[in-house]
Amino acid sequence: METIYTLGIDIGSTASKCVMLADGKEIVAKSLIAVGAGTSGPQRAIDAVLEAAGKTREQIAFVLATGYGRNSLEGFADHQMSELSCHARGAAFLFPQVRTVVDIGGQDVKILRVENGAMTNFQMNDKCAAGTGRFLDVMARVLEVDVNDLGTLGAKSTKEVAISSTCTVFAESEVISQLAQGTDKCDIINGIHKSVAGRVAGLAHRVGVQDDVVMTGGVAQNSGVVNALQEQLGHTIHTSPLTQYVGALGAALFAYKKCNK
């Protein structure tokens, strides 16, 4: 039987991700461009994944878009779905025992309850950047460090520093104040991680946390946030090297399901 190729495209607020699947099982190619909705990112990510797989659009049976910019691919994508459903589906593919998904994206935090691979309940953050990837970007800029180094630097902390989890703007002022007082950057970063974890844990408890807990989205690469959240939730958090692709993976899986309908 001929192989069915499906493509999931996750256009987030800060990155564009693509995953191509063969027969809804095997990842054939993936791509990531570090700019998202409203930029050249989505097209570049699509070009990259097609090139990596050696395929053309015509050879893809079904394309499903998700993420904040999911409506921008009209004419290219066959269908669009919310990233919440896609993250739940992608996480269940990677971790079949998953019951709770924590997705920290560029501008949203989402907690998903998953049962038998499907989302049954969820919570999203209010319209506020505190606790999101954007919050970490802002803090990294103030601290003059690379956002990708936050996890390593936070691990070197030796002293507890409390940072507000209420508001990005207030937290930025607090960080500047701590820097002015000569507080060690590593301690501040550790405080920032705990601040993010506190915000996310509060949201997670509204849904109820059940094992297995899986963290998805770019922030899952930050071991400082993962460890702080693990501590606050009292549950082991599973992450995957594919963490940034989970939404696109879920979209490709839904695309395969659509083909078989």
Partner: protein, 378 residues
């Protein structure tokens, strides 16, 4: 006239209250602005004037009102003041400022100071202890003050008979709106969330007898249609105001119909009728006392979570699968009531989502994601 055309007319009115105001003035009518919540509009009607509801705006941005308002005042109150300051409502002949919530109470004074002598303001303090005789008496005293001020503005004294007639007109209007809400559920393929909102919203900008006549005509036409064979999902909406067409369009994109509502701007405003016989001032005070299951009003039996159960039952009885709560930013009563509502919904096994909204929102990306995901869950 076709159903589509009738609903389009309501939509035009809902979208253009300033034209309504100008038309009323051109026709020689006096118009009274009525702020939320529960002002006895019947008295304005009885005085031969036009009451116009002022529930903020989805088109304006707060600028001038900032001079008078704390940041944590809801946008509904701030945008009402904005419209009084930027000339939009200059043609008003008076303004009734009820004070049932912690924002509207101080705002009643802000309105007075901000607009000065431009428009007479009528202060109205409803009693929270509204059931006992002394509560009713207090409410009647307040309503009598409103009546006297309205008489002054209209230039003649309204009679008790005028008020009894107004009560009849308003009861008929409330009944027609309650019937429309049921018909909108049965015919949700025709009465989309956007049109449903527009039909109900238009009631705030029309004389109620004219509104009821048009709505009854629409209801009669809707009754002739076969019940919708709805393949999408149905929800109940809850909150203070859910009238933003962009937000409601997201419902339509995701095949979500509104089965019923627990919205202050919609059904909460027409659940309770007033007695048509006897002392009309007492009838209006008793009507206010009889309003039940309301976020803003004192419930002596609140510990049994009657309101939460009422809303949960509304979801079940209307055939909805879930509830979407539009949480107005800085609305303390709604925020504080939410845990009780959530408890009742959870106990009844009813899924729900809470969306933070304010009237200055122009981007609904996050709401769109949440609503689409909720439709997936349902």
């Amino acid at each position: 006239m076709s159903i589509e055309l009738m609903m389009k007319q309501f939509q035009d009115i809902a979208n253009n209250p300033n034209k309504q105001l100008a038309d009323f003035k051109a026709a020689g009518k006096k118009v009274i602005g009525v702020l939320p919540y529960y002002a006895p509009e019947e008295l304005v009607y009885a005085a031969g004037m036009v009451p116009m509801g002022m529930w903020g705006s989805n088109k304006k941005t707060i600028s001038r009102a900032k001079e008078y308002c704390a940041t944590f005042y809801c946008t509904i109150a701030q945008l009402a003041l904005e419209m009084l300051l930027d000339g939009t409502m200059d043609q008003l002949d008076g303004l009734i400022t009820p004070t049932i919530c912690d924002t509207l109470r101080p705002m009643s004074q802000n309105f007075r100071v901000a607009i000065g002598d431009k428009i007479p303001t009528i202060f109205l303090a409803h009693p929270q202890n509204r059931f006992a005789d002394w509560g009713l008496k207090f409410c009647m005293d307040q309503y009598n003050d409103v009546r006297k001020m309205l008489d002054k503005i209209s230039g003649h004294e309204m009679t008790d008979e005028d008020i009894r007639k107004a009560i009849k007109v308003y009861n008929a209007s409330r009944a027609a709106r309650r019937e429309f809400v049921k018909l909108a559920n049965e015919h949700c393929d025709v009465v989309t969330p956007t049109l449903r909102s527009a039909v109900l919203k238009a009631s705030w900008f029309m004389l109620k007898d004219e509104y009821t006549e048009k709505l009854t005509e629409l209801n009669e036409e809707l009754k002739k249609l076969p019940a919708a064979n709805w393949k999408g999902v149905k929800v109940v909406t809850s909150g203070i105001v859910c009238d933003n067409p962009k937000l409601l369009a997201i419902f339509e994109e995701n095949h979500i119909a509104i089965a019923a509502d627990d919205v202050a701007h919609e059904s909460r405003a027409f659940r309770t009728d007033a007695a048509e016989e006897g002392d009309p001032m007492l009838a209006l005070a008793k009507q206010f006392a009889n309003i039940d299951y309301d976020v803003l009003l004192y419930d002596p039996a609140s510990s049994s979570n009657r309101r939460g159960e009422f809303v949960a039952n509304l979801v079940k009885e209307s055939g909805a699968q879930g509830l979407i709560l539009f949480m107005q930013q800085f609305c303390d009563p709604e925020e504080m009531e939410y845990p009780y509502l959530k408890k009742a919904l959870d106990e009844a096994g009813i899924p729900h989502i809470k969306l933070g909204v304010d009237q200055q929102m122009r981007d609904f990306g996050q709401a769109s994601t949440a609503i689409q995901a909720f439709a997936d869950v349902l």
